[in-house]
Symmetry: C3
Subunit: 138 residues, 3 copies
């Protein structure tokens, strides 16, 4: 049993889903691992992680539109000192979550055919987002 | 320290919560493990995993009704090529998540008294859903 | 590679977010661990876990207000035998989740600068909530 750990930085350019499946897969391949568990943590409170369909880009746009309607910008928030998109970003982060885990076999993450790993950026301005990846296995 | 990994297939018959706590518990018992961590991944983007109450079936129906209202079918989605229940299914999957982890002690998952493991099927048609289970421990 | 496991009990006094980052950090320091993975499980179906901003208390109040509006109390639920705040609590638990994982390096959880670990209590009455913490690493 061994461990490996790294950090990925994703430069975002506004509210969108940024796929980083290949970055994690490449890092995992470089560790020479066969079987185990990859865990990812997004180190921010206005960006989050999710697994969703990576085939049709319209799916990603619909997911974002849903979040924009479910947690809209507006003057209903007590916390408004960091801009109108800040509190909705915290809510959308709460709904999608900061961490997730993916089992590994044969050196590959066992994602389904249409599953991709996404960073969800919930702020309008560009940000540099850091994700920790941790592997335990052999 | 050791690992074990398996896959569960659940045949679904429409939108509902399908409990599979016993299947995971039985597999875990068969590994002869005592202490560790079980991680589950649903390999789909229109079905998801959740832990919720397994006592009152009405709770499960209310959870599904809430999701049906929060992410309803309708003509508001850009992605509509796979049927009216497809895009709502992706949204409901985003809200509930694809992976979760449960610590183990004494050979048993440390779920609370009323907690059960559920596959949430978000599509109307029958599907075969695959869940990967991964154990690390001893 | 080694494991450690403990349970935290949090006494809640109504619907609020209860931070327990320091409790986990102190326990982790006591294990003498350096690198690994901490996984947390909330053993209840009407309270949940989340990572969110620990700087501005107004953020936490806005998160709670959002949940109160998204899953309100009312007579629309089939399951109403445990009080008007019970079914909304199950829904809010579904949205935020029961488990999460945080990588560890240098003996510390790799949370971001503004990230805190919270128990979200969704019931009005006081409760004693139990959280299992599990560490794998070295």
């Amino acid at each position: 049993m061994q461990q490996a750990q790294t950090r990925f930085t994703i430069s975002t350019r506004g509210q969108a889903l940024y796929e980083f499946t290949d970055e994690v897969a490449d890092w995992l391949a470089g560790t020479g691992s066969d079987t185990g568990l990859v865990t990812l943590l997004c180190r921010h409170t206005s960006a989050s992680l999710l697994i969703n369909e990576n085939a049709a880009p319209a799916v990603q746009r619909d997911l974002l539109r849903w979040m924009a309607q479910a947690a809209p910008e507006g003057d209903m928030y007590e916390h408004d000192s960091e801009g109108p998109d800040d509190m909705p970003a915290h809510i959308r982060t709460m709904l999608t979550g900061a961490s997730l885990s993916v089992p590994v076999a044969g050196g590959r993450m066992l994602l389904g055919t249409w599953q991709g790993l996404y960073l969800a950026e919930h702020r309008r301005a560009p940000h540099r987002r850091e994700i920790v990846a941790h592997f335990i296995g052999e």
